[in-house]
Amino acid sequence: MTEPPLALALRPLDALGRSALSIVDALGRFGTFLIQALAATLTPPFKIRAFADRINFIGYRSLLIILLTGAFTGMVLGLQIYITLSRFGSEAFLGPAVALSLIRELGPVLAALMVTGRAGSALTAEIGIMRITEQIDALTVMALNPMRYLVAPSILAGVVTFPLMTALFDVIGIFGGYLVGVELLGLSQGTYFGEMQTFVDLDDIMLGFWKSISFGIIVTWVCTYKGFHVGHGAEGVARGTTQAVVMSSVLILVWDYFFGSVWK
């Protein structure tokens, strides 16, 4: 039975209502997807081999990009913060300034953005191609849960690898700051590291740690969800991959702000 046509004045309201319903529906599916994935993560049988493969895919293969961006981020911070601090005669605080910027903020955020670009996009494309070539349907009709094989290992690998890569990013970044501040600009080594020990405490490290874990969940959740729900054909996979990277990046920055506001 077809619906009677709406009065012209009511059509914008109708469109608005439909959009709102569609957004609520999409959010519901997005949330349900995470709950199903977490249920598959926490209940046996555990897919150890798939988990190890995802660690390699998300973590190990992102090492080079993490090392490079970490080193140059630290060097840029070292240079710019030194120039700023020297105007106030406070160059001695270069070490803690670089370390706190990296550990609390830039390390988790930039590492997550880099991994999103490298591994998140590939994750969406891989699952998306499995979707359009019916490989996910093949798993389903074998009475095997695709969430257990494709999504749960990725989310678990994200939780494990993101803090490790963030730690690596921080260490390399601090070393980059050291190269510029100490080796290039002449600050003493003792001042750089000594002040760092004074000002950086466990709370700062734990903030970065929890941030990186939450980013690991966000990136793998968004990227696997987008892969699972790609449109038709190569165009659908391309669009899904772009959406996954954009959505992950925006969510990382939004979540970073709110998380940082709550955990001071």
């Binding site: 490989q135 074998m142 095997l144």
Partner: protein
Amino acid sequence: MITVVGLTKSFGRQPVLRQLDLEVPTGSVTVIIGRSGGGKSVFLKHLIGLLHPDAGRVLVDGAEITRLRGRALDAVRRRYGVVFQGGALFDSMTCWDNVAFPLREKLRLRRAEVGKRVETALAQVGLEGVGGKNPAEISGGMRKRVAIARALVTEPEIVFFDEPTTGLDPILVNTIHRLIQGLHRKLGFTAVMVSHEIPEIFEIADTVAMLHEGRIVEVGTPAAIQASTNPVVRQFIRGEPSTAEAQ
């Protein structure tokens, strides 16, 4: 037996299946024929439980799978083997591992038993020695045969074939049909096949059902279908264009 009653499905405002009824007898080869885009694959996905209908029922030996979810649906699916249109082989695995996958993950068999059954399945489809290759390294016809081996290796009671010969040359089409026919005689499964390979399909089918505009317009033996007076069926099996297409 698979019984389909009043199956109805629309995508948006586009009706695809309209009050479709069909019975698939146990142990038979039933082939669904019909024009491309006519809803054959959508119908098959309802039988497998990948799509849920807007109305109607699908019963597999009395179990209404259109109402089943989760473990209950998986219990029915464990009796299934499915050969997808493109094969749907896992491209991250070798052909051997593809065939072994349902044995390891679905039946949880021991390594020695898995090895024995994979070798037998690959031999049945004439692919001994190909197991070590990835799906991307073999031809389309070989991929279809690996997909058939994967679907049959668990010895399912019901096997669904979604256009298993699409895109293959006539010799390979006959090879795949003979292979399916031989395996059916040997293993005795119930087969539901979607195809538009006319007239080759008449040689292997016990029952042929013609799907047109979302309904089954004719069901019968291959001989009965070939002798049908229904203009839609006659036009399809003779490959004649419709009046609009002819113009």
